[in-house]
Symmetry: C2
Subunit: 199 residues, 2 copies
């Protein structure tokens, strides 16, 4: 048997294994995805799934719970699709930027009202709640209330929630959870946040 034939045989066995696993995954429904951890990629992965969803002609909604002081590339880009996408930037910055806890709580509450309306509306196929976890960790929005709204949402609706420190209750409820772990970050080496990467 040649090396190519051995490779082929090994890959045929692997394909049979993978095919069996795929055949066992038969459930079709909206999934709840949570991206957490301290590493890069939580929000950008959410925006990548948003692009996929738009590619399938889905009706989409985004609520950004934290707005940086910069104007971001994703906002500039996704604002181009007002028919397929409702894009809401509700936050006013990180809490050390605003320095006003009462206002932050009020802002988070308003953002949650917009998000809750999307979760109750079967017209939305895909909903991205960017940096919601930050507001949950600070207790500005009640995690139990969020979990109830997620459980009661339309069965085909996908939801992606991002931000550091996802609460256990949300992790338990979610279907897919990824921890983005920092191996290293350009910022640590003195490199500014770059357009197209962070901004």
């Amino acid at each position: 048997m040649t090396a190519d034939e051995r490779h082929r045989e090994r890959m045929q066995r692997k394909k049979a294994l993978v095919d069996r696993k795929i055949a066992r995954a038969t459930i079709e429904r909206g999934v709840l995805v949570v991206n957490t951890g301290n590493g890069k990629g939580k929000s950008s992965s959410g925006f990548g799934m948003l692009a996929r969803s738009l590619g399938h002609g889905f009706q989409c909604g985004v609520v950004q719970f934290i707005k940086g002081s910069f104007s971001t590339g994703e906002e500039a880009f996704f604002r181009r699709f007002p028919d397929e996408l409702d894009y809401h930037v509700m936050g006013e910055g990180y809490t050390w930027e605003t320095q006003d806890k009462s206002r932050d709580i009020a802002t988070a509450g308003k953002a949650w009202q917009v998000a809750a309306a999307m979760l109750a509306d079967a017209r939305y196929d895909f909903v991205l709640l960017d940096e919601l976890n930050i507001a949950l960790v600070k207790g500005y929005i009640d995690t139990a209330q969020v979990c109830e709204a997620l459980k009661a949402r339309p069965p085909q609706q996908h939801v992606v929630i991002t931000g550091r420190g996802a609460p256990d209750m949300l992790v338990n409820l979610a279907d897919t959870v990824t921890e983005m772990r920092v191996v290293k970050h350009a910022f640590q080496a003195g490199i500014k946040a770059q357009k197209g990467i962070e901004l």
Copy 2:
């Protein structure tokens, strides 16, 4: 002092700390980002950064080194921007799908030629090499050669490389590296890959 005043004072101290860190990060240049690990979000994060880059009016290039047997949402979506984005799907599927090692090596080599041309071309501000790591791990493309091309690229050019098992040589060269760690995945619970999320 009221609770609100204490909050304000704490956040002022935090802001001073964050501002000092930001002030120290003064370098402006193209960064090399690597998304690796077994968790979800490596490719979708790359496509999110692509959206950001398009939002800034950047000229962008994508080479997908592995093409699934399904037509993906990201391809359908990003093909809408032929002027700003060169989108190449070069791979033919995972190696257990093709079962033909010689053909896989030839395909990977062709994909690398397209990628290398982008890395040598200062017109590209942002280049996404999706699932390149798979071809490096299998030895289908030489990692040292890839690292040389990355080092020699135009200084303002951002590059994002995704895929499991990023080789150490690439991790050492990169500016920002994230390990996407699986906490859990819907597939493990019998849920099919879903449009807008995986597809």
